[in-house]
């Protein structure tokens, strides 16, 4: 008798467990495609972006009441019966052809309802064109080429400030230095890598210099270098010959490292060096260059020094740093944002129907306290209206926020001290 009762209990337990298991299996999953350069020249950055998206997935699917971002306090997407979000990663290897085919595969085979990526603007272009054709929402986190949001695409949006906005930001900062620190900056030059990112940045300098001529600025040099550069001595000598007060740099981590070493070797001491979103923002910049990294500046969506002021960013970094081994940086938090905003929009739509998700993306102002602007809102072209940037300057080996003044964590140093006196 006892044996039969025991058998009955065991059987019921097993059936119960199977039922629970089935319920767990039956829980709906919302798939979002994430295309990044996970191998190739930009793999180091691509893998960090992947970690950031994994953190977003963890926040969305788990319970994180201590993090003040949308979907952290609930498990899954509450308006879709707690559906879990799964980011399906794909590697475009820095190749636009692969970015296109991976976008097609994710949409058609993996049945993703939305896409994020692709870091390199040249890869984002064809991938977002695929999303447009299939009518799938696409948010680029950190692709900065202004051209991306000038194509009249309906389904494409971008979180990062584009190089158009960044250039204006740079000139405004230089004006600020001249007015408040008597920096005397006049002669401006742009040093840029010869690809979509660099060429567009340089074109934006050509555009904005016309506006800022009245403030006493002149464009004194336009120095382009090849993507496969292995020695920048010639370019550094051209910079020196141009006697620039300020240099705008559109460079990746390997190139900017070479340039800084070159500036030191040839004793080039401009007053300010401002970097577009690229290599400067990578914490490797500090690692590679040590004290030589000091006084370089650039726009950034986040800086570790801001963690003291921005509790949410710190909490996100606490989840991110154990994976990546470094603090979260600007491009990385922008792609984290693209993941979270997309999930937030799907939840808000209460559906994965692309038209309803798009409607939310086009109309809602998203709460984003991990950015200094605190919010994300896409304009008619899909560009985030709120520039998620502060000017950071490396001071004593730390990225310090120096402008706008309300986010200041340190006083800016308005002019480079001579190399030999460092």
């Amino acid at each position: 008798m006892r044996r039969s009762v025991l058998a009955l209990v065991v059987s019921f337990t097993l059936v119960g467990l199977m039922f629970i298991g089935n319920v767990a299996l039956a829980q709906p999953v919302v798939k979002i495609g994430a295309i990044f350069p996970l191998t190739g020249a930009s793999a180091a950055t691509g893998v960090k972006l992947k970690y950031a998206v994994e953190v977003a997935e963890e926040i969305i699917n788990g319970l994180h009441p201590d993090i003040d971002v949308p979907l952290a306090r609930t498990s899954g997407l509450p308006k879709l019966s707690g559906a879990r979000v799964q980011f399906v990663f794909a590697d475009h290897q820095g190749n636009p052809e692969i970015a296109k085919s991976e976008a097609e595969r994710l949409i058609q085979n993996e049945k993703v309802v939305a896409l994020i990526g692709c870091y390199q603007s040249s890869a984002t272009k064809p991938a977002s064109a695929v999303a447009e054709r299939y009518g799938v929402p696409f948010i680029a986190g950190s692709s900065s080429s202004a051209a991306l949001t000038e194509r009249g695409l309906k389904w494409f949006m971008r979180i990062a400030p584009n190089d158009d906005m960044e250039t204006k930001f740079f000139f405004d900062y230089l004006k600020f230095l001249n007015q408040n620190y008597n920096a005397g900056i006049k002669r401006v030059g742009v040093v840029f890598i010869d690809n979509e990112y660099g060429v567009h940045a340089a074109e934006m300098v050509d555009k904005w210099i016309e506006t800022y001529k009245k403030d006493g600025f002149e464009l004194a040099a336009r120095i382009k270098y090849p993507t496969t550069v292995s020695n920048v001595d010639t370019e550094v000598q051209r910079v020196k010959a141009a006697r620039l007060d300020a240099i705008f740099h559109a460079s990746y981590i390997a190139d900017i490292t070479q340039f800084v070493k070159g500036y030191r070797a040839y004793d080039v001491t401009p007053k300010a060096v401002l970097n577009y979103c690229g290599g400067f923002q990578d914490p490797k910049f500090l690692e590679n260059l040590g004290r030589d990294a000091n006084y370089f500046s650039g726009s950034n969506a986040i800086a570790s020094s801001l963690f003291a002021k921005m509790e949410v960013a710190k909490r996100i970094n606490d989840l991110y740093k154990p994976k990546a081994g470094v603090d979260i940086d600007g491009p990385t938090i922008e792609d984290f944002s693209s993941a979270l905003v997309m999930a937030d929009a799907i939840n808000e739509a209460g559906s994965t129907d692309p038209a309803r998700v798009l409607e939310v993306l086009k109309t809602k102002t998203f709460y984003a306290p991990y950015f200094v602007s605190g919010k994300v809102k896409f304009d008619d072209k899909g560009q985030n209206e709120y520039s998620a940037s502060v000017m950071v300057q490396v001071l004593n080996g730390v990225y310090e926020a120096v402008w706008p003044v309300e986010f200041k964590t340190a006083e800016p140093v308005p002019a480079f001290p001579p190399w030999r006196s460092r």
Partner: protein, 332 residues
């Protein structure tokens, strides 16, 4: 037409018939993509085989012809609204001209020196396009989306038309190579490959026939550059002029078997799906496992079967027929 040639034409026809059915077996867009890329790269292999497989001039610079064709179609449509067919013809002519101008003096070089020179030329063409503002330099060209159809060579609702466009191109490329290989010129080219001095001694003009092979190879390569552009609808110099393209063409042809019409077919049939599916399976991990697998395969082929897949099949055929190959029989 001898018996061997007839046999090869028949085999080609059967394989092409089977390949024509392949896209209809699935609606999977990723499989269709693999099929399109297979046809394109197999065709590029056939084109490359003309100059390297037949004439023995190892070119590592075919990306420059591919890129010229790609840009010709893109620019024709983007700047002038002209049909990519027109761009394709211009591209083929331009690539032929570049091939002739550049390679004629380079034919004086032998072996590795010729290969290195082609690499250098390819780099020059790449740098030219990166700096050329009229073709949008480094930022590349997004081909304007147009109404789908044969005139625009754009198909948006399905990839099937691209599959058949690429297949048609492949048929033309394979037939062109097969015809060339079995023509009098083909035998001249093989003679030049074996020994230029001996070929000259029997009255063959090596410069003339190598030039002919290069011009045919370059223009054929450019045609597939144009098809590629209309398929991807975005090109930049890094995509179409990169050494990666040249290396891929070389790899798949060598893997399949140099100098044979089947070589690029086998090579592309292995390499293209392998690179696509290993990326699909392992690429998302970010650990480069797909590329490692790809590299291991190449190393294995290079170490154990330098004659490529065609070589493997031929040696099996030899052992299965008491040591007498079909080639030997045909020769007899």
């Amino acid at each position: 037409m001898n018996q061997r040639s007839r046999h090869e034409w028949r085999s080609l026809a059967i394989v092409i018939g089977l390949l024509a059915v392949l896209p209809l077996l699935t609606k999977n867009v990723n499989v269709h993509h693999v099929i399109v890329m297979f046809f394109i790269y197999a065709s590029l292999g056939e084109a490359w085989n003309m100059i390297t497989g037949l004439a023995g001039q190892t070119s590592f610079g075919h990306a420059s012809f591919f890129g010229i064709g790609a840009y010709a179609a893109a620019v024709a449509f983007y700047r002038f609204g002209a049909s990519p067919w027109i761009g394709m013809v211009i591209g083929a002519l331009a690539a032929a001209a570049v091939g002739a101008i550049v390679s004629y003096p380079m034919f004086r070089l032998r072996g590795h020196y010729f290969a290195v020179a082609t690499l250098a030329v390819s780099e020059i063409v790449f740098q030219l396009f990166v700096s050329w503002r009229w073709v949008e330099g480094a930022t590349g060209i997004s081909v304007p989306v147009a109404r789908e159809g044969l005139w625009t060579l754009q198909f948006h609702s399905s990839k099937l038309p691209y599959c058949y466009l690429a297949l048609a191109g492949f048929v033309a490329a394979a037939a062109a190579f097969h015809w060339l290989a079995n023509s009098r010129i083909g035998f001249y080219l093989r003679a030049i490959k074996d020994s230029e001095e001996a070929a000259m001694a029997i009255g063959i003009n090596p410069a003339k026939y190598k030039l002919l092979a290069m011009v045919s190879s370059a223009s054929l390569t450019a045609i597939f550059g144009s098809i590629y552009t209309q398929y991807i609808l975005y090109i930049d110099p890094f995509m179409v002029f990169s050494m990666h393209v040249s290396i891929k063409i070389v790899l798949l042809t060598v893997l399949g078997g140099l100098g044979s019409v089947w070589g690029p077919v086998f090579g592309a049939a292995v390499l293209i799906p392998l690179s696509e599916y290993t990326r699909v399976l392992f690429g998302g991990t970010g650990r480069g496992i797909d590329l490692i697998l790809f590299g291991v395969l190449i190393v294995m082929v290079a170490c154990f079967q330098p004659q490529g897949i065609v070589g493997i099949l031929r040696s099996r055929g030899r052992s299965g027929k008491g040591g007498q190959t079909r080639d030997a029989k045909a020769a007899a």
